[in-house]
Structures are given as structure tokens and as C-alpha cells.
């Protein structure tokens, strides 16, 4: 379980938020804070990872996450190699570990992995040489730790103290790696009340064992909330046996100004992107004064710089 922390107590890989101590999370957020100023400078580069080879291993298509990792790596002066694997070796029948072994032979220092299967990043981390670091950029429904960290950064930036907050995660919890990582991060950082709001078809069984309170009704779940974490509803979930239609979903679970008014007046609204306007979130909210969706993106680069420099910086 603690494979991502080495015997000196240092972060060896970042695979999941689960099990990381609060001090480690704050250390990452503090480091990110020091990088935010870098991203605002005219010369947006620091030489911390000069000469390091970072491989973006994306077995699942992604533009946004891959790009932010790429920008973060470049600002740390690393060499970045982007591999869109779904289109190459996998279709030729090469196994996941064969791909990784081949790339390791090219003297990689770090793999940033996105894969459709839960546990893929753990599998890779268990098999690479000890000097290689693995960052999980999203594995199946399991975890997306850097997204959760940038969300925590954003919350800390706007709300300062985690210990007084009421946070609601709204949407497709069942299939969401983002939600799972957010839940671990929030509970680790001492948020006293984390709610999840979704119809029963989109809540995984036993979700309360993760330390959250399930709600099925937005009017109850949003009451007096400080932070709203919206989730993306994948297109394929909008019909079939999980949900009858996107329209009905929006009516009952889409975040509109009226529903947002139930939360605290200074509540902030976040979304990991890409957004489905008019399905999980109304444009008036997404572009409204309480939305911090764009700052999230900016902070995301600093947080990823922090994680990479903590893992591989000397």
C-alpha cells in the first residue's frame, strides 16, 4: 500500500492519494505555491529537472491533462516525450509491461501514465527500476491524484482552512477516478463534512465507508455547502440503464443558479473539465462569479510541477 512512499519516507511514485499523510499533501501544495509565481514570470522556467526524460504515456486519449503535464515538465526544463499509445503498440498486441520495459530502456526518469484500467499505474510502478518514478494521471475509475491535488490547492487558495468546510461532490461518483481521489484528499486534510450527491445509479456501493455522506436530492445536499465539486458526466452514461436522459439529469442534478443559491453565499464552484454545459452545469454558473474553474487550470500546472520536482528533483 505504501509503495509510493520509499523507506526514507519520501514520495517515490504518486499513484493515489489514499494513504498519503496530510503533511505530505501540504508539502506538495506549499511547493506548488512557490511555482505559481514562476508561471507568472516572463521567463517561465526553472532548471530543476534539466536533463531528465519524462515520458507521457497515455493509453487513453486526453488533451487537457497531457498538455498540463507537458507544460509543467517543460517549465521544469525536463525533456518531454509524448506517446499516444492507444494508437501504436497496443494495437500491435504489445502488452502494457512490454511497452514500459522498452521505454525504460530509453533511460526514462519518469512515466506519467493514463490508462483505462484501474490499477494500471500500480502495475507499472511495481515493475519499473527503482530510479524511475511513476505519476498516475488517471487509471480507470480508481484515482487521479494530481487532479485532486490541484482541487485542494484551489480550495486552500480560496478558503484557507480545511477544518471548517462543508464540501459536496456532485455527479457520476460511480465511474469517477476524480471523485475517489478528491474524497481521500478531503478526508485526509481534515474536512469535517464531505457529501456526495447523485442518483443511486451513479453512487458506488458502500461509498459511505470512504467517509462521505450520500445525498440524492440537490436541495438537501447543497444546503450550507462551502465548496461544490462538479463531475463530468460521460456521454455514454446519459442513456441506457443508468440515466433516462441528459435532460432529466440536468433538471434534477445540473447546477443552476437557483440550486447554487442553496449553498453558502460565498461558496465556490469547481469542475475538472471538460464541462458539459447544460448537462451537469449551467453556463450562468460556469461563467459566474462563484466559479473558480479557470484558476483551477492555472493552479494545475503549478501542482504538477510540484509533484514532478518532489519526485525527481535533486
Amino acid at each position: 500500500m505504501q509503495r509510493q512512499i520509499n523507506k526514507n519516507g519520501e514520495l517515490q511514485h504518486l499513484l493515489t492519494i489514499e494513504g498519503l499523510p496530510a503533511a505530505m499533501l501540504h508539502h506538495i501544495l506549499d511547493t506548488a505555491e512557490s511555482f505559481v509565481s514562476v508561471t507568472e514570470r516572463e521567463v517561465k522556467k526553472v532548471p530543476l529537472l534539466r536533463g531528465k526524460a519524462i515520458f507521457n504515456l497515455f493509453f487513453e486519449p486526453s488533451t487537457r491533462t497531457r498538455t498540463t503535464f507537458e507544460i509543467a515538465a517543460k517549465r521544469l526544463s525536463a525533456d518531454v516525450i509524448n506517446l499516444n499509445i492507444s494508437a501504436s503498440s497496443q494495437s500491435k498486441g504489445e502488452t502494457l509491461l512490454d511497452t514500459v520495459n522498452n521505454l525504460s530502456a530509453m533511460h526514462a526518469d519518469m512515466f506519467i501514465v493514463r490508462h483505462a484500467q484501474s490499477g494500471a499505474a500500480h502495475l507499472i510502478a511495481n515493475h519499473v527500476a527503482p530510479e524511475i518514478h511513476v505519476i498516475n494521471a488517471g487509471d480507470g475509475r480508481h484515482a487521479h491524484p494530481t487532479q485532486a491535488l490541484l482541487d485542494m490547492y484551489t480550495i486552500r487558495h480560496f478558503k484557507r482552512d480545511f477544518h471548517e468546510l462543508r464540501v459536496a461532490i456532485i455527479g457520476d461518483i460511480m465511474h469517477s477516478r476524480v471523485a475517489r481521489s478528491q474524497i481521500h484528499a478531503l478526508t485526509t486534510l481534515g474536512v469535517p463534512e464531505v457529501r456526495v450527491i447523485a442518483p443511486k445509479t451513479l453512487l458506488p456501493k458502500g461509498v459511505e465507508h470512504l467517509g462521505v455522506h450520500p445525498y440524492h436530492d440537490m436541495s438537501k445536499g447543497l444546503k450550507d455547502v462551502d465548496v461544490l465539486l462538479m463531475l463530468r458526466l460521460q456521454n455514454e452514461r446519459m442513456q441506457g440503464a443508468l440515466l433516462p436522459s441528459a435532460q432529466e439529469y440536468f433538471k434534477y442534478y445540473g447546477l443552476t443558479p437557483e440550486k447554487l443559491a442553496l449553498a453558502k453565499p460565498d461558496a465556490i464552484v469547481m469542475h475538472p473539465g471538460p464541462m458539459n454545459r447544460g448537462i451537469e452545469i449551467d453556463s450562468a454558473v460556469a461563467d459566474g462569479p462563484q466559479s473558480v474553474i479557470l484558476p483551477q487550470v492555472t493552479f494545475g500546472i503549478a501542482v504538477r510541477m510540484a509533484v514532478m520536482s518532489i519526485l525527481a528533483g535533486s
Binding site: M1, R3, T16, E18, T95, L96, L97, H115, Q117, S118, G119, A120, H122, L123, H127, D139, G140, R141, H142, A143, R177, R180, P204, K205, G206, V207, H209, L210
Partner: protein
């Protein structure tokens, strides 16, 4: 060959015999127990001092991977593993490639197994052609060819009408139907028990009701058709309770559990240990404890190895993509001994779950040690520890959740039909 096995602790679960005595083997059979038969002169002596002598083990589910999957394991390698595990009779499920749905295939398998002259192989025939769940197989012919029962292995059999007809037809010839209770639509994408661990790891779940709904259908159809039904590898507390009630009502139903499931739970998956990707899924601790209790009180008749050799390539994948299954033939005895010790079950009772009782499920004259019975014997050191690791396993399948653990109970000799087919290296 005449063999004198002396000073062993002789255990025959069927007759409840458990005492230190000698046993004499001649002409492939148990000739006498205690005193030698008249004019007996042994050509071979086995000193079983400190060892248990019991009937050869009977395993209700072992995949031998032939025909069709010889790259995973061969009959040769897996039969070696069976006798190294003290198993002298085993049933193999029909999900080979092609499935065991034609007499010719069954005869070939029987012929190949006989040629190796080791454990007895009892093929379980396919209940429907190609295991497709549509047309019945020639069960009577398959039975003549050597099939002892009919099952659908792990393939879905959703159509209740086909299931009912298959049971009716099997009942016509008094052939047993073996089924694993799992509703296909509720489990299609699942890879782990739908519960706390699957939720935490983001793995698609298989709910408990996938078992109970299917089990309820099977039990009602058994009642309707009068078929003799055996439930393979029960996995949930609720399922055990349903079997308990069905038995109470006098339904002719029997049931087994995999040796993995009486020791492990979903918690053992840890962070995606693909060795714990098993069918049925490992459920929660309450389920595991109910399985142990059900085994103790007799609701569950037998423990099977659920031996499924999988090669490393098929396991070194993300959990959901990794092939399900674990090697088991050589672990059956140690795992049952572990259960007996933990659950405070006397050895003679514990051994019945892997000898006389599965033999009764199979309907074979085996798993007993009385004079005149076939001399299929297992002689083991109950207190000898050994480490489960790739090099200590004969099976071509090296993957098991118990890899790296020390286990108690090492087979020293295995006899089939009065011949010593396995002798452990002295160590």
C-alpha cells in the same frame, strides 16, 4: 505389488476411523487394516510413522487445460501436480476448447489421462452444445463415454427455459447437473465483489444478488424438475443460508466451496493483486466466515481446489484485464488443514470434505479406506511446513494468492490403484 504401510495414523472419514495402525495393499486394493491378511508378504514397506494415511483426495474442480489450452498447462504437468497434492480423483469442467460436448472429446481426454496412469480423471460434460446455452448435448451418450455430471462451467446460462429443459433431460437419466450460481447480466462487467474494496479501487463489482438470484432460480428449477443439483463454488453468506434451507426442505442439492474462498476476502486484493482475481469474486469477511461455518456444519459438502493454471503473461496486467484463476491442486490439502485447525474441526471430519463427501457428490467408489476398496491413498505429514513458491509447485500454473507463504501439510506418498505414483523428495 504388495505394500505394507506401517505405523501410520490411519484416517478413514467414511467409517470415522482414526487410529495408529498398519494397512496392507495387494492387487490394487486395500487388503487389510491392522493385521496382515493370511500369507501376506510385502514386496515394499512404507514407514508412515508420524504420518497420516488417508484416502486419496477427491477434487471436484480442476482445469487441466486440455484440449485447447496446452500453452497454459498440459495434462502431463497438471496430473503431476495432482498426485503431488495427494489427489487421486478429480473432476474437470467442460470449458475446454472445444468444450466437452461430444463423446469423442470425452473419450480422448479419458484415454490421454489413462495413458498417464496417475490420478483418475472424471470429465464433467457440457450441459449445452458449445456451452452456448441453446441446445442440449447428448447427455446420455456423453455419460456412456465417461461424463459423471453436466455443467455450464463459467459460461452464462441465462435462459430459464433452457435450464429447466436441461435439468429435466438430465433427470430422465438420473444424471447430476452442476451449476455455479451467478446471474450473467448482474456480473457481466464485474471483476470483484461489489462492496467496500471495489468501490475504493474503482473496480466494476459483482453484487451478492448475482449469486442469490441465480441460486434461487436453480433451486426452484431443481424442485420443479427433480434433478440432482450440485452448486459449484458458493461465495456468499446469503448463498450458504439458501442451501441450508434447501437441504432442510429435503431438496437433493449438494454444494462445494473453493479452498481459496474459505481463507481470503476482498481485503486480500490490497492494491490490485491480480492473483486475487478469482471466479467467483472474493467477498467480504462476513461471507468468508459464513463459508467456513457452512463447511463445518455440513451445509457445504466439499472443498475443491478450483485449480486454474494461468501463465504470468495473463496475470501481469491491470486487475480487470488479468485472467481470473489460481493454481490449486497442490494447495488443497494444506488449505483444508489450515481451515480445520482454525475452525477446530477434527482431522477426520476435515478430511471428509476432500475425500468421502466429494466422492459421494461424484458418485464414485473412492475416498474410502475399508478392506476391498481401491488402494487410492494419500500419506502426508500434517505438521510439515513448506513454502509456496514457483519452484515448489509442479503445476505449470504458478500464480496463487498464497505465493510466498509457509503452509502446513506436505504430501509424502500418493498411491493410485495400489501403485506408488508419487514419492516426495526427502528434505
Amino acid at each position: 505389488m504388495k505394500i505394507h504401510i506401517k505405523n501410520g495414523r490411519l484416517i478413514d472419514p467414511k467409517s470415522h476411523l482414526d487410529r495408529k495402525t498398519d494397512i496392507f495393499v495387494a492387487a490394487g486394493k486395500v487388503a487389510a487394516i491392522g493385521e496382515p491378511p493370511p500369507n501376506f508378504s510385502a514386496s515394499h514397506e512404507i514407514d508412515a510413522n508420524g504420518l497420516v494415511v488417508c484416502p486419496g483426495l477427491v477434487d471436484l474442480s480442476a482445469r487441466l487445460r486440455e484440449p485447447g489450452y496446452e500453452y497454459r498447462a498440459t495434462l502431463e504437468s497438471e496430473m503431476e501436480a495432482a498426485i503431488a497434492g495427494g489427489i487421486t480423483s478429480l473432476a474437470c469442467p467442460p470449458d475446454t476448447d472445444p468444450p466437452l460436448d461430444e463423446p469423442g472429446l470425452v473419450e480422448m481426454l479419458k484415454y490421454r489421462a489413462r495413458g498417464l496412469n496417475q490420478a483418475h480423471v472424471f470429465p464433467v460434460g457440457a450441459l449445452t452444445q458449445g456451452l452456448l446455452g441453446e441446445n442440449l448435448t447428448e447427455m446420455a451418450e456423453l455419460s456412456d463415454a465417461g461424463c459423471v455430471a453436466f455443467s455450464h462451467a463459467e459460461r452464462p446460462l441465462d435462459n430459464a427455459l433452457v435450464m429447466m429443459r436441461a435439468m429435466q433431460y438430465a433427470a430422465t437419466f438420473d444424471l447430476p447437473v452442476w451449476l455455479r450460481a451467478q446471474d450473467a447480466s448482474l456480473s457481466r462487467i464485474g471483476v470483484a465483489h461489489e462492496g467496500e474494496v471495489a468501490t475504493r479501487l474503482g473496480l466494476p463489482g459483482i453484487p451478492t444478488c448475482a449469486e442469490t438470484i441465480a441460486l434461487s432460480k436453480i433451486l426452484r428449477l431443481a424442485e420443479e424438475t427433480g434433478a440432482r443439483v450440485h452448486i459449484c463454488r458458493i461465495s456468499s453468506a446469503e448463498g450458504v443460508e439458501m442451501i441450508r434451507q434447501a437441504k432442510k426442505q429435503g431438496l437433493p442439492v449438494t454444494c462445494d466451496v473453493s479452498a481459496n474462498h474459505i481463507h481470503l476476502s476482498e481485503m486480500d486484493i490490497g492494491f490490485f493483486d491480480s492473483n486475487c482475481h478469482l471466479i467467483p469474486p472474493l467477498r467480504n469477511l462476513r461471507d468468508r466466515d459464513a463459508l467456513k461455518r457452512g463447511l463445518k456444519d455440513g451445509t457445504i459438502d466439499a472443498v475443491c481446489s478450483d485449480h486454474t493454471p494461468v501463465d504470468d503473461d495473463a496475470k501481469l496486467l491491470p486487475f480487470a484485464e488479468a485472467e481470473a484463476g489460481a493454481t490449486g491442486l497442490e494447495l488443497l490439502l494444506p488449505l483444508v488443514l489450515k481451515w480445520a485447525e482454525e475452525s477446530k474441526v477434527p482431522l477426520v471430519d476435515a478430511l471428509s470434505r476432500i475425500t468421502s463427501r466429494p466422492a459421494a457428490v461424484l458418485g464414485i467408489e473412492s475416498g474410502i479406506l475399508s478392506p476391498g476398496a481401491a488402494a487410492d491413498l494419500c500419506i502426508f505429514a500434517a505438521d510439515a511446513y513448506w513454502k509456496i513458491e514457483a519452484k515448489s509447485l509442479k503445476s505449470q500454473g504458478k500464480n496463487t494468492p498464497f505465493l510466498g507463504l509457509e503452509m502446513k501439510g506436505r504430501v509424502k506418498y500418493t498411491l493410485v490403484g495400489g501403485r506408488i505414483v508419487y514419492k516426495a523428495n526427502p528434505s
